[in-house]
Amino acid sequence: MTSLLPQGFQDLERFLPYWDVPSSQERIARRSTASWEANKEFYDAIVPRGEEAMAHLDQFELHDIPEDSARLLRLMLALTHVSMAVEFHGQVIAPNCPYPNDIRITEGASPFG
């Protein structure tokens, strides 16, 4: 069976069903609707592998990346949003801010935005 993530990262596959989403807007929604524990679990599992993951990804071109590595990249992109909760606020949503709210990214960065 082919693995969903590149060699050496298969232990992170358990995070794909929830955290591998195509756009920044959806990453914000995933982080904002996950519990603090789920955010923290993801953060604690990915951060120690972050440099290793980026070193792996450095070998590919932005617009020419195999799908297993693209999944790994999307986990790293999700990590940046989760880091807002873990590193900035110490809670899921910024203090005193409404969630859900109507703010939407209607045109994102390309690709994976």
């Binding site: 951060v47 606020h89 703010i103 960065a109």
Partner: protein, 422 residues
């Protein structure tokens, strides 16, 4: 007061309470529609949104119940017209943007050229006395300044765009706007008056309270705890200020933040990116330098430059920072409802690592916008409560006061000339 001559006083403004009525009153909103939005030049888009001949984009001006087709002509010029069929008023163009040789109304198939002229009315011979020349999509006065496309809803604009922009337009002319083809767009419809939303982006006083983790430490410094802006300018109905930050800022030991910002070090402008820019994940320094070279970008040449804000009256902010520019626009829908649209012009990522770094910037930006925007509905409710005799604006909120004074001046003025008079 701890300064010799407050900015507010130097600009000739009174210092008392400001009424909440303009933020809440339906009658006032009607006047804003007729006297401001139907008479001022309004920004609709940038020229880069429609780069090629026959490119078009739809833009809404809800307060005037209007929707415009902005279209690049075959000769490269830009025109705008009401998206209203000359037959019975149907919306002709239904796609939000695209490239089209012609527009065909879906109701009875009347067709129009990219210049808005009627090409053909179907079943022509059954009509009475139609003059095809009068059956084009109705033109709206259009002009371009610094790459921003403006329209004016007066049939015959009382003043040219150049006159309307006045001293601000001259001072800011010729700025190079980097990465203008690649905006990141954020939008929200908010239960707030349009001025309440604009106010959220019009002072630095809130930074330490509202943005403690996201940008507070990089902007707020020992010597400027409440982020007092500098270089205030009041030019006709428009205004600007500049904000400096904390030169001694060191990013805290946050793992992901450091992974995504560690590359932002180096000389001059790049040094600013690491200290106060905060946001630039992928960049092209040639583009940035071309932009920063203009004397009105960081006009004080502050070493801890954060940003310059300019309001183009009535509802458009453009902001500069060491990493480029962004815009906010505040479109009134009702006295207590506003469409906010923000465009962040970001360099396209060139590598996967830059894309990763950029996502951290986007994530932080979304946090900052939520912190700013998340407060406006509470402020609006407070102003509607009747609890206040008026709002209390301090000296560093001078541009909020200036906006309220200018809004009222336009609302009272019988003519545009009177509204623009000294």
């Amino acid at each position: 007061m701890n300064v010799a001559t407050p900015v507010t006083v130097a600009a000739g403004m009174m210092t008392g309470l400001m009424s909440t009525e303009p933020y809440t009153s339906p009658e006032y909103f009607q006047l804003e529609r007729e006297r401001i939005f139907r008479r001022c030049w309004l920004v609709l888009c940038r020229v880069e949104e429609i780069p090629s001949p026959r490119d078009f984009v739809l833009k809404d001006v809800e307060i005037c119940h209007a929707q415009f087709v902005v279209a690049r002509q075959k000769d490269g010029s830009i025109r705008a017209f009401h998206n209203v069929c000359a037959h019975r008023g149907n919306r002709v163009v239904l796609r939000r943007k695209g490239n089209a040789p012609a527009f065909v109304c879906n109701y009875h198939s009347w067709s129009y050229g990219i210049d808005g002229a009627l090409r053909a009315a179907t079943d022509r011979e059954s009509f009475f006395d139609i003059d095809e020349k009068k059956c084009g999509l109705r033109n709206v006065a259009t002009d371009v300044w610094n790459g921003f496309v403006f329209v004016n809803l007066e049939r015959e604009p009382s003043v040219s765009l150049k006159e309307f922009l006045g001293a601000m337009g001259e001072r800011m002319d010729g700025i190079y706007f980097p990465f203008a083809s690649t905006p990141l767009v954020m939008e929200a419809t908010l239960e707030s008056n349009w001025k309440t939303v604009a106010d959220a982006f019009s002072e630095g006083y809130h930074v330490t309270s509202i943005h403690p983790q996201t940008i507070g430490e990089s902007v707020v410094s020992e010597g400027n705890r409440w982020s007092h802006p500098d270089a205030f300018r009041f030019e006709g109905p428009h205004h600007s200020f500049s904000l400096s930050g904390n030169l001694n800022y060191v990013p805290p030991p946050r793992t992901v933040e450091q992974m995504t910002t560690a590359h932002m070090k180096g000389g001059d402008t790049e040094g600013m990116l690491s200290t106060t820019g905060n946001v630039f994940a992928a960049s092209d320094m040639d583009e940035i330098n071309r932009f920063m070279d203009h004397p009105q970008v960081n006009p004080l040449k502050s070493p801890s430059y954060v940003n310059d804000l300019t309001m183009v009256f009535p509802n458009f902010h453009f902001d500069f920072s060491p990493g480029g520019f962004w815009t906010h626009q505040f479109w009134p829908i009702s006295p207590t409802r506003t469409r906010w649209e923000s465009r962040w012009y970001v360099p396209p990522a060139r590598t996967l690592r830059e894309r990763f770094q950029q996502e951290h910037y986007i994530a932080r930006l979304a946090e900052i916008m939520l912190e700013d925007i998340g407060n406006t509905e509470r402020v609006q409710l407070g102003m509607q409560s009747g609890a206040l005799d008026g709002i209390r604006l301090q000296d560093n909120e001078a541009i909020i006061r200036h906006q309220l004074i200018q809004v009222d001046k336009w609302v009272q003025a019988a003519s545009v000339a009177e509204a623009l008079a000294e």
